[in-house]
């Protein structure tokens, strides 16, 4: 009996490692395939003919129809961030509270806006693109596209890729504006802080560097999201359940990819942090 327990115990690390690698293998190969796919898409962008009509249709689908979602989410999240920071700052005493505007906006610029907009778009557009492409693959429409003389990458993927990337960039800007407004409004309505006081601290704390940081992130997230959703869509098999599985997989993978990329950029930013800090310090003087 004790012997059996011992047996099990010393086998455990091997089992765990084995399971880890079994799980890890497909994940790494997925990442590899997606990178290859990404490279092919980039190459296809520069092949003529460029599908203008499809591109414009996708811009509308992705961008214009996501505006209400981004506005709503941005407004409320801006308010939430502002309230939370208010609570946090009030722990430090009244002196810190005047910086509420700056801290909130800086946080929004660098972190919240890109991630929030990307996650909303991932849920709305990413899942939709995956479902659409997966359905097309499962009903052989992708084969039909090839048979009729078009390249699925050029006709289907490139317009969506570009539309998503461009639109996430634009929508992040929109989201930022509305979130800042939401933050200011909630500070005013809930804590009585004057709006001009709110905006005053923004200049000193939220530097252009933060804006650049946030915008770069949004572009990166756009690229990641479109690659993942198109890849998952086109590589589906298995009928209706396959479509459902592809959508699920797309959402999960995009979420993980977005957060992972966010972390990497945050790390990189903090590495160059000292340089940026002294640079900005100079700017303020």
């Amino acid at each position: 009996m004790i012997k059996r327990l011992f047996n099990y115990l010393w086998q455990l690390p091997f089992m765990v490692t084995g399971h880890l690698f079994t799980w890890l293998g497909p994940v790494i190969s997925e990442i590899g395939s997606m990178s290859l796919f990404f490279w092919q898409v980039i190459k296809s962008i520069f092949h003529r003919p460029f599908e203008v009509r499809e591109f414009i249709i996708q811009l509308y689908q992705v961008g214009v129809r996501s505006i209400p979602v981004v506005l709503l989410a941005g407004l409320f999240v801006g308010a939430i961030v502002s309230i939370q920071f208010h609570y946090a700052l009030s722990q430090f005493g009244a002196g810190a509270l005047q910086y509420l505007g700056g801290v909130t906006t800086s946080g929004l610029l660098r972190e919240v806006a890109p991630v929030l907009v990307s996650v909303m778009i991932a849920a709305r557009v990413g899942a939709y693109i995956t479902a659409e492409l997966a359905t097309m693959k499962v009903t052989e429409q992708v084969d039909a596209v090839r048979c009729l003389g078009a390249d699925p990458l050029r006709f289907l993927v490139v317009p969506r890729f570009l539309a998503v990337t461009i639109m996430i960039f634009i929508l992040t800007i929109l989201g930022l504006i509305i979130a800042t407004a939401g933050g200011a409004l909630s500070a005013y309505l809930l804590t009585g802080m004057g709006i001009s006081k709110y905006f005053a601290s923004i200049r000193s704390l939220a530097a252009a560097w933060a804006l650049f940081n946030g915008m770069f992130k949004s572009l990166l997230f756009g690229v990641l999201l479109s690659t993942v959703s198109c890849y998952k869509g086109l590589n589906t098999d298995g009928g209706s359940e396959g479509v459902g599985r592809a959508v699920n997989s797309c959402l999960v993978t995009s979420a993980i990819a977005i957060f992972l990329a966010d972390y990497i950029i945050a790390r990189l930013a903090s590495l160059t942090f000292e340089v940026a800090e002294s640079f900005l310090f100079f700017m303020e003087i």
């Binding site: 359905t135 009729l148 003389g149």
Partner: protein, 243 residues
């Protein structure tokens, strides 16, 4: 002229095509019969590059397409068109856009010319021009099949591959499709390969027949010989009707 020369194709452990060899002559309508899953669709997909053979050679007009890349197949697909089993119309486009799709890819026709050719093709497949602005999911299955047919035929390919054109249709509509296929082949002077398990269609429109059984061609020859053959498998196919 289409030739299959000792073509093998497997999916994992499953050997679907075991060294098939076949010649399809110019202008004829060749029927490929077989059980569901016997490899008929696989065979046809090799011709347009949707699948690639493991070994052996496939030749179209003397040209060996076995090693061709996607790029090369673009050229082949202009002369070798495929009509899919499910209509596989593009859901997000109107009927007009679906049919005109291939034409637009050619890139050198004006809008009027495209409209003209779509109109003519719709007449050929016996559909009313008013169907143009509707979306695929608004059409009946028979209408969808005919739009799928129109979409391929409008490019006037020299070889047309039909994947189970009458499957899932009631006998009346199936008959009309058969007539259409016959008429279009004659009109375009095309060579047709029809994959099916519909014996009635075979008797009506085929010149020669091939029976694909367990990955090999059990029988290849004129329809008359097929109907008179003593081969037990052939007999079972005839007698049992569908596979």
């Amino acid at each position: 002229m289409i030739e299959y020369d000792n073509v093998w194709k497997s999916f994992g452990d499953n050997r679907v095509l075991k060294g098939i060899s076949l010649d399809v002559r110019e202008g004829e309508t060749f029927f490929v019969l077989g059980q569901t899953g016997a490899g008929k669709t696989v065979m046809v997909r090799l011709l347009v590059g949707l699948l690639h053979a493991d070994s052996g050679a496939v030749r179209i007009d003397g040209e060996d397409i076995t090693g061709f890349s996607e790029q090369d197949f673009q050229r082949i697909r202009k002369k070798c068109g495929m009509v899919f089993q499910l209509p596989t119309l593009f859901d997000s486009m109107t009927v007009f856009e679906n049919i005109a799709f291939g034409l637009r890819r050619l890139g050198n026709l004006s809008e009027e010319e495209i409209g003209e050719r779509v109109k003519n093709t719709l007449e050929d497949v016996e559909l009313d021009f008013s169907i143009c602005l509707r979306l695929p999911h608004e059409l009946s299955f028979g209408e969808q099949k005919r739009v799928g047919l129109a979409r391929t035929v409008i490019l006037s390919p020299r070889y047309v591959l039909y994947d189970e054109p009458t499957t899932g249709l009631d006998p009346f509509t199936a008959d009309r499709i058969n007539d259409l296929v016959l008429r279009l082949n004659r009109k375009m002077g095309a060579t047709a390969i029809v994959v099916s398990h519909d014996l009635l269609s075979m008797n009506k429109i085929a010149d020669r027949v091939g029976l694909l059984y367990k990955g090999e061609f059990r029988f290849v020859g004129p329809v008359k010989d097929f109907n008179r053959s003593d081969d037990p498998v052939v007999a079972e196919f005839r007698g049992g009707g569908e596979a």
